[in-house]
């Protein structure tokens, strides 16, 4: 309880509250604009947090996360283009509702259930994270290696249709992470005599290059085409376009979708891009009128938006309890923690409990801010969509350069940004997914250090990995997952 009070007092001050409002606003804008995402918003603002205290900076990043995931519904409903992958299934019924003249009602429902979903995810985070962290204190090298390997396998397998390309991307991330001083014995590897490489590549320019620069280059491919945004007019009737009777009638759908979002969000690598589709399918399959799905009914929007936002709190669980990011946004949040010398993991609860509870409170406050901002300011966000992309992307590029330079105040990080931007664009052309590269880059040192420590302490005996139940379970899960994906691929090829 003391920690809750400390966390609340930390957040209810002028600067964290202001930063949460700014963060949610910018996050919603990034989420609403197709091609931009919560990942890009957090990456772009990471360098800005350098000069801040830990609580305001983490509040800003968390708010960007909440806003970025929530903003995607605006374009999904109004113009049938999901602002982020987490709102793909919001287009299925959201856009038909717009075509039926119910755009305002669809937006209202999307906003309300995004809020409810975020609250559900937060509740799970509050109650599950502390016991997991307590349990994780017993973990050693064997467990950490197995969990990191499992996370990497899931990410690689779920980031595209081609498992081999996903795994190759993850391995590329591992290789990039190997550059510089090795863990344990401090040997300089693969630096080619370049002193700037001694500490390896910095996370921020790598992330910004892969996600922002490559996106700009991709956009450049079609820049010569005339594009118009035909945004329809809308009115939001009543209380978020709904009423108490409808809310009561939809509670099963909302709880089921929230549970799917939470379950998928906790697992590393799957994320809101998948959970919204799964919950939409679950809502359709359990409906008495499945034929109405896709024609513009509230059930579809409620399922999608509750699930994707419920994943926010859930995705924070592996990050704060084990120090393992589940997706690219939490990978960047990890970067934000590290910038301030905070190492997420089980010890975070013991050493910096007030900060952990500040994150919890920041999440709650950000979800309330998101609700109010979207409800009262949705017209403003829609107006932002009219800004031509050539202005937005170019200015974002300049901010990426500043952000990369600010990491260590050196031009080398700017060149890293350009190099990884080019690599990202090439990967796009050859259909290799990005998220495994980032996760490989972040999990690489954890994998290597724990594998080497474990093998050194067991003197090359691999049996302890299978004798310890947690390690064995995660290794088994990783192997089972690969086997399932492999069998499915063979089956599909056969068909």
């Amino acid at each position: 309880m003391e920690l809750w009070i400390a966390g609340t007092l930390n957040i209810f001050q002028f600067s964290p509250l202001l930063l949460i409002i700014i963060g949610v606003t910018i996050g919603v804008i990034f989420g609403a604009i197709p091609g931009m995402s919560a990942t890009m918003a957090v990456a772009l603002f990471l360098p800005i947090t350098f000069g801040m205290e830990p609580v305001p900076s983490i509040s800003l990043l968390v708010a960007l996360f909440v806003g970025g995931i929530s903003g995607g519904l605006v374009t999904a409903i109004l113009i049938n283009i999901p602002g982020t992958p987490s709102s793909i299934s919001s287009t299925f019924d959201g856009y038909p509702m717009t075509q039926n003249g119910e755009a305002g009602r669809a937006l209202g429902l999307g906003i309300l259930y995004s809020f409810i979903g975020t609250l559900m995810g937060c509740l799970v985070l509050f109650f599950i994270a502390p016991p997991i962290a307590k349990f994780a204190l017993k973990f050693g090298s064997y467990e950490y290696f197995a969990i990191a390997l499992f996370a990497l396998t899931l990410v690689a397998g779920l980031s595209g249709d081609n498992l081999a390309k996903g795994l190759a991307s993850a391995t590329l991330g591992l290789m990039v992470a190997m550059i510089g001083v090795a863990p344990i014995d401090g040997y300089k590897r693969f630096t080619l005599g370049i002193n700037d490489l001694d500490a390896g590549f910095a996370l921020v320019p790598v992330l910004l290059g892969l996600f922002a620069v490559s996106e700009m280059l991709k956009e450049a491919e079609t820049s010569f085409l005339e594009k118009r945004n035909g945004i329809p007019k809308f009115e939001m009737p009543g209380f978020f376009g709904t009423n108490w009777a409808e809310i009561k009638g939809q509670w099963v759908n909302a709880v089921r979708s929230g549970a799917i979002g939470i379950g998928v969000g906790i697992l590393p690598g799957i994320g809101a891009g998948t959970s919204n589709l799964l919950s939409y399918l679950a809502a359709k399959n359990s409906s008495k009128t499945p034929e109405k799905f896709g024609t513009g009914i509230p059930d579809g929007i409620i399922a999608s938006e509750t699930a994707n936002n419920a994943g926010i709190g859930a995705a924070m669980i592996p990050l704060v309890t084990l120090g393992i990011p589940g997706d690219t946004v939490t990978a960047m949040l990890l970067g934000g923690f590290l910038i301030h010398g905070i190492q997420p993991g089980p010890l975070l609860f013991a050493n910096n409990g007030a900060l952990v509870y500040s994150i919890f409170v920041a999440l709650l406050v950000a979800s309330v801010v998101m609700l109010c901002l979207l409800y009262f300011g949705v017209r403003g966000f829609v107006a932002m969509l009219a800004i031509p992309k050539h202005y937005l992307l170019s200015v974002v590029m300049v901010m990426c350069f500043v952000g990369s330079f600010a990491v260590n105040n050196r031009m080398f990080d700017v060149y890293t940004l350009i190099a990884f931007g080019t690599l990202g664009y090439v990967m796009l052309k050859f259909e290799y997914p990005f998220p495994p590269v980032i996760l490989g880059f972040i999990l690489g040192p954890m994998l290597e250090q724990n594998l080497r420590s474990a093998l050194m302490s067991s003197k090359w005996n691999i049996w302890p990995f299978f004798e310890r139940p947690i390690a064995a379970m995660f290794l088994l899960l990783a192997v089972t997952y690969i086997a399932i994906v492999f069998c499915r691929a063979i089956k599909m090829r056969g068909q």
Binding site: N162, L172, M178, Y187, S223, V398, V402, E431, W460
Partner: protein, 154 residues
Amino acid sequence: MHRRTNTVFSGTVVLLLSAVVFFFASQIDRRIPIGVDSGFFPEIAAAFSSVLGLVILVQGLRTDQSLKMEGTGREGHRAVSLSLLLLLAFGAGMAIIGFLPAAVLYLFFQFLVLSPKKQRRIGMFALVAVASSTAIYLAFSLGFGLVLPSGYWG
């Protein structure tokens, strides 16, 4: 480009990269007697990567020769190449002439490259380039206390 060529090429690149990493990893001094040294993990990663490269290569060879991938087109290639050149020039410009003038020039030309011909407004582009670069410069240098490059003559 044909899907087959695309996949075969990328599989070959993965294989070559794995070979290079394995070679450099094998050159690392063996400092720890039981072998779990700094070369151990890179060797495993390179070996695993070479298997993946081989799998991708075989996938490519088994792909239908008639399948084509969505192309970028001449104008698209031109815009991508110009954007890349502008990024490189901006990077070099930051170090030589300083952040502010480099950002103004970069933004102006990037607006030109990214906008469709009918939407090109030279005056507006110049105005937005100056205004946004100055705003970013002031926000980061005064607001966040960052020291941005001032160039050789700064």
